[in-house]
């Protein structure tokens, strides 16, 4: 296991909590930025929505156009005109 993989494993062990930060000028539709830390995986990726899986929950971001990028290990940032943001429990 390389150093990067070890760091990732350590991150997963230490941080079971995910943080979602929303930065907006007043309304999501006008252009917002959603940062999700400790994201487990991307479940779905489509023209108008992105579904992220975090520990115990799925985050469904819909909007157009949506742009995704990562920062750090396991952290993603979604920007664009966001129409809705749903949180669904998963098992």
């Amino acid at each position: 296991m390389g150093l990067k993989e070890k760091l990732i494993a350590l991150e997963e062990l230490s941080g079971r909590k995910s943080t979602v930060t929303i930065t907006t000028d007043g309304e999501l539709h006008g252009g917002a930025e959603i940062c999700v830390e400790n994201c487990r995986c991307i479940q779905e990726l489509d023209d108008n929505f992105i579904v992220l899986s975090v520990y115990g929950m799925n985050i469904r971001v819909s909007g157009t156009p949506l742009t995704l990028e990562n920062f750090g290990v396991g952290s993603v940032r979604i920007t664009g005109n966001i129409h809705s943001l749903d949180f669904e429990e998963n098992n």
Binding site: C41, I42, L45, E69, F71
Partner: protein, 389 residues
């Protein structure tokens, strides 16, 4: 994919587009592997994004793994800029030599800066003995030893720091507050510093043994530090007094009618330096200096577009002496004698009061001689420690 700025990819970027397969799994795996991805968008079933050129191979492999047919698009950044010059051997060798030169410079000391109100020669000697000198290898510098020695050997040194940054050694020394002067309390006598007649006296501590109007020789006791206590015993005290004596001195001055003098009005040699902080950079080749000359310097602040900069321009001026023959008339000689006498009094009698100065002029063939009989008054008290048996 629309034109947008790619942030955070220091070495450059490769934009890609992919179609088909499981793009979300591909992105997830790339995220898990720590690949920096920017601007991921899905449009009409196609995925767009950008990765670092160093990560593109892994991205392509991951895409293949999940059935995404990927295609590289626009690319840019320092990685591709430098790639253009990889066949330019001269540039590569030049860059390599540049890095090599900088690296070699970093392996030995090139300059030593000393900061603080301390004797520079002493610090340099200590540094030299600790192998800290220009040209010495950075690995062999005995920095801790130098700091300890500076602390131990520099007088009243409170703090010393020696550090090597790159090829420069910085020495910072702070001195402590000076010790207050403690007055000595050991017993002492006051004796005459010279032969004189006592004019007046102000004994503060001790017993005076001379009277006004009496004559004393050099070394005679004036105020005793051994005084009776009134019970058949003596006390040793620290005698203190102001004893004003009067005495005569004769001085002789001579000014010739003809004289050869050296005057600094010859050729001027100017040497300019650019000064930044405590560093000086000579703006000339060779060595500054001129034989038999007077050195003066001027410093001015360098201005750029009317604004003062941190740089200063120092001009060192060496003016050569030239020998000139001076002829004086008797009046000029007398005037020069008066100046000589005045300079002598200012230099040698600043603490004495001149009661009388009787002048006698003796003209000679080659000049005029002046003999002055001074009558002077001054403090002749000289403290001497009491020898206790």
């Amino acid at each position: 994919m629309k034109k947008q700025k790619i942030r955070g990819l220091r070495f450059g970027y490769v934009k890609f587009s992919g179609i088909g397969g499981y793009s979300e799994k591909m992105i997830t795996e790339l995220l898990e592997n720590g690949v920096a991805i920017r601007g991921v968008e899905i449009k009409d079933g196609k995925i767009f994004g950008a990765v670092s050129p160093l990560d593109y191979y892994r991205t392509a492999e991951t895409a293949r793994k999940y059935g995404v047919r990927i295609r590289a698009g626009e690319r840019g950044g320092i990685y591709f800029t430098l790639s253009r010059y990889r066949s330019r051997v001269g540039l590569c060798v030049g860059a390599l030599l540049f890095v090599l030169t900088i690296s070699l410079w970093q392996t030995s000391v090139r300059s030593i800066m000393i900061d603080g109100d301390v004797p520079r020669s002493q610090i340099m000697q200590i540094l030299n003995e600790c192998n800290i000198k220009v040209g010495a290898s950075v690995d062999n510098l005995q920095i801790s030893k130098a700091e300890h020695r500076i602390l131990a050997e520099v007088e009243n040194c409170a703090w010393a720091d020696v550090s090597c940054v790159g090829f420069r050694v910085d020495v910072h020394v702070e001195k402590g507050a000076p010790k207050p002067e403690m007055e000595d309390s050991s017993p002492r006598n006051i004796v005459a510093a010279r032969s004189a007649m006592i004019v007046r006296q102000i004994p503060r501590v001790g017993a005076s043994v001379v009277e006004n109007g009496s004559g004393v020789n050099a070394g005679d006791l004036l105020v005793s530090g051994v005084v009776p206590d009134g019970r058949d015993k003596v006390l040793y005290v620290r005698a203190d007094a102001e004893i004003i004596g009067e005495w005569m001195e004769t001085r002789e001055f001579f000014v010739p009618y003809s004289e050869t003098v050296s005057i600094p009005n010859g050729e001027r040699h100017e040497f300019k330096y650019l000064v930044f902080g405590s560093d000086e950079y000579p703006l000339f080749f060779g060595k500054a200096g001129a034989d038999n000359s007077l050195y003066t310097e001027q410093t001015s602040i360098v201005k750029l577009f009317g604004q003062e900069t941190a740089f200063k321009l120092k001009t060192g001026i060496y003016t050569e002496y030239t020998e000139q023959q001076i002829m004086r008339s008797p009046d000029d000689a007398i005037s020069e004698l008066a100046k000589q006498k005045q300079r002598f009094e200012e230099n040698f009698y600043p603490t004495y009061e001149i009661i009388n100065a009787e002048e006698k002029f003796y003209p000679r063939e080659d000049g005029i001689r002046l003999i002055v009989d001074y009558t002077l008054q001054g403090d002749i008290a000289k403290p001497v420690a009491v020898a206790r048996e």
